[in-house]
């Protein structure tokens, strides 16, 4: 089956600044696909190109088989796009914002009431329908923005960092809505800098400085890590990290909260490491092997420290 979103060898520069280089990925129908990466990874450029706001320097990009350079109007009427910044009219009410976008997309008048009802069910915004958008809390604003992009029943939903700066509770609510939409068959492409959100996607592409480091199911990507990670816990260990990095055989030391994550190649045991640390610091520390997190893999991929398979 033809993918809903297809990107082949996409590159884009702004002046000397290369935003995206040679990006290729597909998003299948009904898939929830995540573009994961920090600011400057090229997520926004990719998304804006897909929604026809900027044109590619090279490469083939299509949405439901429509070429982004040729079928601008068609793509705009079947996709829902939520830009990174909250971009609704703060001086219009929740209801007025919804009506405005419904009219822009020529939603049939008869269906308006029902669609609004359905969106209110998702967003729980009904009690606030007469409140000005500018007076909503951060999480509610995001839900309103999402509702406005859904008013014309798009078959593809493209969201640019919808949860940046939003608190964890609102974030988890927002992702529940996305899961609901996915069940209804909407294809969703979402970008996020939060690694924990990546685990909620069917597949992800990890992006860094304009390139894709890895694409696949989240568990497949965490499986890319062949080195072993050990977590040691203790007071102010971070300040010891430079000394711990001297341990022979160690690949890297990362601080994580009040603990340190040590990366070793396969072949070391917890006991080995505990005794090495004791030699070094004169302290008995709690040590356990942990499954690598996506963030560990991300850092490993960037620094070229994921190790080799057997």
């Amino acid at each position: 089956m033809q993918p809903v979103i297809s990107i082949i060898n996409f590159s884009k520069s702004f002046g000397k600044n290369i935003a995206v280089k040679n990006l290729s990925l597909d998003v299948e129908k009904g898939e929830l696909f995540g573009l994961i990466g920090p600011d400057g990874a090229g997520k926004t450029t990719t998304i804006r190109t897909l929604v026809t706001l900027i044109s590619p320097d090279s490469g083939e990009l299509s949405v439901t088989g429509l070429n982004v350079s040729k079928s601008v109007r068609e793509i705009r009427s079947i996709t829902g796009y939520m830009p990174q910044r909250f971009s609704l009219y703060p001086d219009l009410s929740v209801s007025q914002n919804l009506n405005f976008f419904a009219n822009l997309f020529e939603v049939p008048k008869k269906e308006m009431a029902e669609r609004k009802k359905r969106l209110f069910k998702f967003s729980n915004l009904e009690p606030f329908s007469e409140r000005l958008a500018g007076q909503l809390s951060g999480g509610m604003k995001q839900k309103l923005a999402l509702s406005c992009t859904l008013i014309h029943n798009p078959v593809v939903l493209i969201l640019d960092e919808p949860t940046t700066g939003v608190d964890p509770v609102s974030r988890s609510e927002f992702w529940e809505i996305l899961q609901e939409l996915k069940k209804e068959g909407v294809t969703i492409l979402v970008s996020t800098p939060y690694m924990d959100e990546a685990l909620l996607c069917d597949r992800i592409a990890i992006m860094h400085e304009g390139s894709v480091l890895a694409i696949g199911k989240p568990e497949k990507i965490t499986g890319l890590m062949h080195n072993h990670i050990y977590k040691i816990t203790g007071h102010n260990l971070v300040l010891q990290s430079n000394r711990i990095a001297q341990i022979p055989g160690i690949i890297s030391v990362q601080s994580f909260g009040d603990s340190l994550h040590l990366t070793f190649p396969p072949g070391f045991s917890s006991e080995d490491i505990r005794s090495k640390i004791y030699d070094l610091l004169g302290q008995q520390l709690n040590i356990e092997r942990i499954a690598p997190s996506l963030e560990d893999v991300f850092i490993g991929l960037i620094e070229g420290k994921i190790g080799h398979g057997n």
Binding site: P38, D167, S170, M195, V238, S255, E295, F298
Partner: protein, 243 residues
């Protein structure tokens, strides 16, 4: 008044008309502590921080920051605190060097001190090659460290960080926290807000604010035991989601 607390807050409130943004909060932050100030959007964190920095008068209650009252000694407070926000208050159209010099000037450092500090910071941050480039063209992670450094120019005893790591890549974030630990171990107090719950784990103690009140306060380890959860993220969603 000499105390062991860097920040001491007692029944602090702030109303905006009928809206109660901060509702009689009380807590203490120890010297040299990394204190996480968590809460949902609109919970009242920003209002509370503004009051502690002397930018906003409380409706009622009292707090001391670095030993000075936020009601009567705001000028002294401003001399003793550093502040850095997500929107890094750097001037995009000034060079790295000019930004450092500007902030040195604002805090009234002498000319020799500014030039000494500037050189020191630039070499600490490995920005020698970049010192004459416009701040606009620095990578985000560098900007963040530069912003942090400028907020430390006047050697404050407490530093307030308002969502300092938004949008920064994981490596820069981890490096950033290593610097935070170094700052704290040198005796400075770090007061930080964040939406990244994994960062909450870095804090010595965290408070969770909801609808103007502080509804939980403790070390991450204690909280995890109390709620029988493994991550701060789960705890936050559990507590705030329930209320």
């Amino acid at each position: 008044m000499e105390t062991d607390n860097a920040v001491s807050v007692s029944k602090l409130s702030r109303h905006f008309g009928k809206f109660i943004a901060v509702d009689e909060i009380s807590f203490e932050v120890n010297k040299g502590e990394i204190f996480g100030f968590l809460g949902a959007n609109g919970a009242g964190k920003t209002t509370a921080i503004k009051m502690l920095c002397g930018l906003l008068k409380p409706t009622s209650g009292e707090a001391t920051v670095a030993g000075f009252s936020i009601n009567s000694e705001t000028a002294k407070i401003k001399k003793n605190i550093g502040y850095m926000s997500q929107k890094f208050s750097l001037y995009d159209d000034l060079t790295v060097k000019e930004n450092i010099e500007f902030y040195g000037g604002i805090y009234g450092l002498s000319r020799e001190k500014i030039s000494g500090k500037t050189d020191q910071l630039i070499s600490e941050l490995n920005l020698d090659k970049m010192k004459n480039t416009l701040t606009r063209s620095l990578p985000l992670g560098w900007k963040q460290r530069l912003a942090l450094s400028t907020s430390l120019l006047h050697d404050p005893s407490i530093i307030f960080l308002d969502e300092p790591t938004g949008g920064v890549d994981p490596i820069s974030r981890r490096n950033f926290w290593r610097i935070i630990y170094e700052i704290a171990s040198s005796g400075k107090t770090v007061f930080v807000t964040t939406h990244y719950m994994d960062e909450a784990e870095y804090c010595n103690r965290v408070s969770i604010m909801h609808k103007g009140k502080i509804i939980e306060l403790g070390t991450p380890t204690d909280l995890k035991q109390k709620y029988n959860k493994t991550t701060m993220q789960d705890i936050f969603i559990h507590i705030v989601g329930q209320n």
